[in-house]
């Protein structure tokens, strides 16, 4: 072997040397990524919105961690796309195409190193923010662990939009490419997905990392199935591979492309172009498969989450074992909540105590209050997004913690529970579904309304300005309000005695407003 041929053959065999070179090129790109300039602004935005929003949510892992995708991911998208497109258009903007084209490193791998330089900072910023958020959540929650799948989905989705933006920047280089690509992709991703989510569908919406705020007890009674995250990862990984493959196929980066074969300008040659074509094909197949699977997504009636039948593991529908946390309220009522809501137990006890004291011993008055999953509430209560219902014998007040979902307003939380119980004892169920599928609220008779409102006023709750919960169209009559005020003004013992004597008749509708004390 001559010296020349030995020199030629050695690099081809020495793949590890080429890999080390690629890593060093990547390190050069990382050191010079312009994305670094965006990090302080992203940090400020992260603290201003996602971190503050999470702190305002109840201290639950799934709920607070949802800001990673619902709040922070959308913030990252415009920055990531702008800087990726800027990096992608760099070679043409800087007029170094000839200089770089004469080097041995294939254009595709050189461009991928450049993409990696931007992507490394984007993902590092995202990961660092998630770590900060998760540490804050861990300090506040009482149960459970950090959800990982949303983070994985966020990382893959950011990778995809960066790859797409970089490829667009490389294909259409120019001074205005970056802002145009940033605005275009942000509009496409955020607006299209937001629209799909807001329309309530679970098909395209399932692909959106930016989704709805989960229910309070999501991931508490049942594990959160990774189905949606897996579909998102598939779809975005497909988009990323498609964009990367397209980059390798484009004539600007050295492949045979739309403007005819530029074989001589390509350092990579047929083998790299074949690899790029394969990557592109696999990417498109993955994205299409992800889209197709998302179209089959449906809401689970058991767990309350979204499941994809082809990916769904029935084992994930098994409830998570837990030991409830209980405390006694005044009136002998035992209140039990899931340990994830341990921090809300005393608030719940304080909410239910006074109303149980008013109703204790009366027929239908609950002897125990237990937190259950929202999906286990009676369907009529679910229909009206209710928080609880009195069921069974001996009566049991089953409730969810949805009242503390977004507005941790103690009065709303307290009054909602109290009215649920009082209405159940005085009037009965909250309503019924008609044959046509419409909700018909059980507003009660004027006497029932007066006693219900009087009781609530007596224990310091503000009755809803309607006739019972969820009866939004009911206009309360002045005489009902007057009777309620009279009833509330009675001594507690008198109210209780009257109720003990008349509750059956009142509930049956045989007592008129004039007969109320």
């Amino acid at each position: 072997m001559t010296a020349a041929t030995a020199r030629e053959a050695r690099p081809a065999r020495d793949r590890s040397r080429l890999f080390r070179l690629a890593v060093r090129i990547m390190w050069v790109e990382v050191r010079h990524s312009a994305f670094v300039w965006a990090i302080p602004l992203l940090a400020v935005l992260f603290i201003y919105d996602p971190l503050r929003t999470a702190s305002g949510y109840p201290a639950l892992w799934t709920l607070r961690a949802s800001v990673v995708l619902n709040k922070f991911w959308p913030v990252c998208v415009p920055f990531a796309t702008a800087f990726a497109a800027w990096a992608g258009s760099r070679e043409s903007r800087r007029d170094v195409a000839d200089l770089l084209g004469s080097t041995a490193r294939p254009a595709w791998t050189r461009q991928l190193c450049s993409l990696a330089g931007t992507l490394a900072w984007v993902l590092a910023t995202f990961a660092a923010s998630v770590v900060v958020l998760y540490v804050r959540i861990a300090q506040a929650v009482t149960w459970g662990g950090p959800p990982i799948w949303p983070v994985v989905a966020g990382v893959v989705a950011l990778t995809a939009i960066c790859a797409l933006a970089f490829t667009l920047g490389a294909l259409f280089p120019g001074r205005f490419t970056a802002p145009i690509v940033a605005v275009g992709i942000s509009m496409l991703v955020l607006a299209a997905f937001s629209r799909a989510v807001s329309q309530g569908g679970v098909s395209v919406a399932a692909l959106s990392p930016d989704g709805i705020v989960p229910a309070n007890d999501q991931g508490v009674f049942y594990p959160v199935a990774p189905d949606v995250s897996v579909v998102q990862v598939m779809f975005f990984a497909g988009c990323a591979l498609g964009a990367i493959g397209l980059l390798g196929l484009s004539p600007r980066t050295g492949g045979a492309g739309w403007r005819g074969p530029l074989d001589l300008a390509s350092a990579g040659g047929a083998r790299l172009r074949s690899a790029a074509a394969a990557v592109f094909a696999v990417g498109i197949a993955l994205a299409v498969a992800g889209f197709g699977l998302a179209a089959t997504a449906r809401a689970s009636s058991v767990t309350g989450g979204i499941e994809v039948p082809a990916l769904h593991d029935p084992a994930s529908d098994r409830p998570i074992r837990y030991t409830p946390v209980c405390a006694d309220a005044s009136g002998g009522l035992q209140v039990c909540v899931h340990p994830a809501f341990r921090g809300y137990l005393s608030q719940t006890v304080n909410s239910l105590g006074p109303v149980i004291a008013e109703l204790s011993g009366l027929p239908g008055a609950p002897v125990r209050a237990v937190e259950i999953p929202g999906t286990a509430l009676p369907s009529i209560v679910q229909q009206v997004n209710g928080d609880g219902a009195v069921t069974g014998s001996p009566p049991l007040f089953e409730f969810t913690m949805d009242a503390i979902t977004l507005v941790p307003d103690a009065a709303q939380f307290r009054d909602g529970f109290r009215q649920d119980i009082v209405h159940a004892v005085i009037v009965g169920p909250v309503g019924r579904m008609t044959a046509g599928g419409a909700f018909q609220p059980a507003t009660g008779t004027p006497a029932q309304q007066a006693v219900e409102d009087g009781l609530l006023k007596a224990i310091g709750s503000q009755p809803y300005p309607v006739c019972g919960p969820y009866a939004l169209q009911c206009a309360q009559q002045p005489q009902v309000a007057a009777a309620a005020a009279r009833f509330a003004a009675l001594p507690a013992a008198t109210r209780h005695a009257w109720l003990a004597a008349n509750l059956a008749a009142l509930k049956a509708g045989r007592i008129t407003l004039a007969q109320t004390p």
Binding site: E8, P11, S102, L264
Partner: protein, 259 residues
């Protein structure tokens, strides 16, 4: 030693304009000066030699390899240094980073990169500016950075397009010495308008006009063509003008050489 550049009837057209018109050329180690007026086709020829522009027709062999073959082209590029006429650069890179970047892209063995970069930067006398950002450098210094990146891989084939543009006289003198030094082992092709550079540094000269090589010989031979010619201040300039005038007045033979 075998010819490192072998061009056979190379043409290159851009639309209806034939920038390089049937050029045949062979060159071994040494410094070849490529002279010619604006639009003569020098840059197009150099871009084809740099494997960034495919010829419309004809055959190219560089360093004994065919650049149409992917593996051979990659090997050519490992052993190639190229300074384009318009040197693009990344303003945020320092001198060392920029040269290192190209060393890595040229697949210089990782263990040798640091040493090669230092040597290349010192070679163009930019050691004191090694850590300076490119955006802070003057045009002449940027040109020297371009030369450093072109030579960082100790190329067997070095292509320099207007390398002395922007250099001050002292730097040009130093650069000519560098060219002579590099030409000891490598084949160096220097495209320039400055005939004094050719006289001082080149062992061979080729003169292009209208896409063709109209003269090929030594600088002394080019000078001899200028005897009795009254256009130009220096002997080489007179030779240059005389050859061009003769070429333009004579009927063209495809890729023909006057000497």
């Amino acid at each position: 030693m075998a010819d490192r550049i072998e061009l056979t009837s190379i043409t290159r057209s851009f639309g209806g304009n034939r920038a390089v018109d049937g050029v045949s050329l062979k060159a071994g180690p040494g410094v070849l000066g490529l002279l010619g007026p604006n639009g003569a086709g020098k840059t197009s020829l150099l871009r084809m030699l740099a494997t960034v522009l495919p010829p419309s027709s004809g055959q190219i062999r560089l360093l004994g390899r065919d650049p149409k073959n992917t593996a051979q082209r990659r090997e050519i590029r490992r052993r190639l240094g190229y300074l384009p006429q318009n040197l693009g650069y990344y303003p945020a890179f320092t001198v060392v980073e920029f040269v290192e970047y190209f060393a890595l892209l040229k697949e210089v063995p990782p263990a040798r990169v640091k040493q090669a970069v230092t040597a290349a930067v010192e070679r163009v006398d930019l050691g004191a500016k090694a850590k300076a950002k490119l955006r802070t450098l003057s045009g002449g210094m940027l040109r020297r950075v371009g030369i450093a990146q072109a030579t960082v891989n100790d190329p067997d084939l070095l292509l320099l397009d207007e390398p002395t543009a922007g250099l001050d006289p002292e730097q040009r003198v130093g650069f000519r010495a560098l060219l002579r030094d590099l030409g000891q082992a490598a084949t160096v092709v220097v495209s320039t308008h400055l005939v004094e550079d050719v006289g001082a540094a080149c062992s061979q000269v080729a003169l292009m006009d209208a896409g063709q090589i109209v003269f090929r010989g030594t600088p002394a031979q080019l000078e001899s063509h200028g005897e009795g010619h009254d256009v130009g201040d220096a002997p080489l300039e007179r030779g240059y003008s005389a050859v061009l005038q003769a070429a333009r007045s004579a009927p063209r033979n495809n890729g023909g050489v006057a000497a």
